[in-house]
């Protein structure tokens, strides 16, 4: 591959965007954790952590420091290598999914491009020709399938952590989790098929582009309003089950399983990695919900000011993240047989019905 100035500029741009998404991925657990503890506390008439920094804002940071400096204990009976490797398997696929986040449209004018160019030239003597950028790292033909493929690898982390810990609670938690994730992955994927039929593409950026504009001037062409409301709710329910959150958090049901698959992970960096992977997976699921059902970055004045796009996008994602906390403060945990019955006997047939409806509409409407 010949190396010239243009390709260097291209790769540096991509790298920068990956770093930005990585930082968003790293910071989201910190922020989300604070919101979760405070909001949950208010829902339960408590105050929550409010001592570290203003409003307890630095609490998550303090926890992070604690994670880093606590003694790292590997249980004697554990399978050492798998025990150490499991958190890595959790974190890497979670972060791999971040590269397809469609934060904004293609070809947005970079603000102050000319002054950046001249500034870099005066500093280093390299002539850049920055003008436009895409507000997403990459948009490729199998984007959505890539997310599904990468996130499906996350199950192994939980399975490995549960098995390698060599404890009954961990093993049961791992078994429950793998059964639950495999069951709900089905209805999750089938809920997405409805959107794919309607959009006619698997590329996340193109799916968002299809949802721009309004009907009658006020109904946005988001798929949650147009033909896919059923698919949206199926997706939402199975996404919550897929990320092991309340009311589907059976893999770590405290009252029965102590901590589930991470019982044996003392509060070290390994636990922090498992924890972070869970939150990044929640972020990914929320991003998919936003991009596929809520019109992605679309919103008022985006066509005039394209830099508003990521703002709208992140606002919608935040809405979903808050929904997670809200549900945790509202609903009790399901029983395991209820969970399985609900997934296989209700959600799966409804998802198939949704595909049937979507295909029929597609046959007559397009």
């Amino acid at each position: 591959m010949p190396i010239d100035q243009q390709s260097i500029q291209f790769f540096v741009g991509i790298l920068l965007k990956i770093v930005i998404l990585f930082v968003i991925g790293l910071l989201s657990p910190v922020g989300m954790n604070w919101v979760e503890r405070r909001a949950l506390a208010f829902m339960q008439m408590r105050l929550g952590p409010n001592r570290t920094g203003p409003f307890g804002l630095l609490q998550s940071l303090a926890d992070g420091i604690k994670f880093a400096f606590k003694e790292d204990v590997v249980p004697l009976a554990a399978n050492k290598w798998l025990y150490i490797f499991a958190p890595v398997v959790a974190v890497v696929p979670a972060f791999m999914a971040t590269i397809v986040y469609p934060l904004g449209p293609k070809g947005v004018d970079i603000p102050f491009a000319a002054s950046i160019n001249s500034f870099v030239y005066s500093l280093t003597g390299i002539q850049l020709n920055l003008s436009t950028m895409d507000l997403h790292v990459t948009s490729f033909n199998v984007g959505l399938l890539y997310v599904l493929a990468v996130t499906s690898m996350g199950v192994y982390a939980i399975v490995m952590a549960g098995w390698a810990s060599n404890s009954k609670f961990s093993l049961l938690g791992g078994l429950r989790s793998s059964a639950q994730m495999v069951s709900y992955e089905l209805s999750l994927s089938l809920a997405l098929v409805g959107v794919l039929i309607q959009a006619g593409t698997v590329d996340l950026v193109k799916i968002v582009e299809m949802q721009q504009g309004t009907y009658f001037g006020f109904i946005p062409k988001w798929y949650v309003f147009v033909f896919q409301p059923l698919g949206f709710f199926i997706y939402l329910i199975s996404a919550i089950a897929e990320t092991n959150r309340t009311p589907f958090d059976l893999p770590e049901a405290e009252t029965e399983l102590v901590g589930g698959f991470h019982t044996e992970y003392s509060s070290s960096l390994k636990f922090a990695m498992l924890f972070m992977a869970e939150y990044v997976n929640m972020l990914t699921v929320s991003v998919l919900a936003t991009a596929l059902f809520l019109g992605g970055w679309s919103g008022p004045f985006v066509s005039q000011f394209p830099l508003l796009a990521p703002v709208y996008f992140l606002l919608k994602v935040t809405l979903f993240m808050f929904l997670y906390i809200w549900l945790r403060g509202t609903l009790p945990r399901l029983r395991y047989d209820q969970l399985m019955n609900f997934g296989w006997k209700f959600l799966l047939p409804v998802a198939l019905l949704n595909i049937f409806i979507s295909a029929t509409i597609a046959l007559f409407a397009y």
Partner: protein, 210 residues
């Protein structure tokens, strides 16, 4: 300016990982390690598909094989909690003699096929209108036009396997407690002392015994 053979380097890396992991699948004594090595092999194979510009096949390789099939493997191994392969006596001695013969036959087959492979790349899509090679569109078109019959036949086969496993799994006799529960339900009102259904149950037992 120099040329980096990046594509070849990535291919060599991915292929080496695939072969190494595949050897691990058969060399490991612990079934969990074997299964995990098989997952790595699947992912590495997805990498080689990606190098061939078959993006759809690559993602499907990960979703179906590494994501779905192997989860079931690992699940079963964990559920049965098989620790290490038990060292058991070789009962069938003659298999040791047959195995090398079969290996040589397979090797010959592979060499025969490998000799007929040409290294020139297949012509990629050129006309612009048709969907690019390896994309979802091109695979979908091929699957629902030229290969419609094999596709439908395969799906019927899978459906048959599913129904068959369901039938096998559901065939079971009712336990005594379940029969009693059913009899209570049939009698109409749930009673505190289910004397009548118990008498019926005894009758049924005698019937079965007779």
């Amino acid at each position: 300016m120099f040329e980096l053979p990046i594509q070849q380097l990535i291919f060599l890396f991915v292929a080496a990982v695939a072969v190494f992991a595949a050897f691990n699948v058969i060399l490991q004594r612990n079934p969990i390690y074997s299964a995990l090595a098989l997952i790595i092999t699947m992912c590495a194979l997805a990498g080689t598909f990606l190098m061939l510009e078959a993006q759809f096949v690559a993602t499907m390789q990960v979703i179906v094989y590494a994501g779905a099939v192997m989860v079931l493997f690992v699940f079963v191994i964990m559920l049965l909690n098989v620790r290490t392969e038990e060292a058991r006596q070789d009962r069938v001695k003659y298999l040791k003699l047959v195995a090398p013969l079969l290996f040589i036959a397979l090797l010959g087959e592979v060499i025969f096929v490998a000799r007929s492979v040409t290294t020139t790349a297949p012509p990629l899509a050129t006309t612009g209108n048709e969907p690019a090679f390896g994309t979802v569109e091109s695979i979908g078109e091929a699957m629902f036009s030229s290969y419609l019959f094999p596709f439908e036949a395969t799906s019927v086969l899978i459906l048959m396997a599913m129904v068959g496993s369901l039938v096998l799994a559901r065939r079971r006799t009712m336990s005594e407690a379940e029969t009693l529960g059913k009899l209570i339900e049939e009698s109409g009102k749930p009673q505190l002392t289910p004397a009548e259904p118990v008498a019926k149950l005894e009758e049924k037992k005698e019937e079965i015994a007779a």
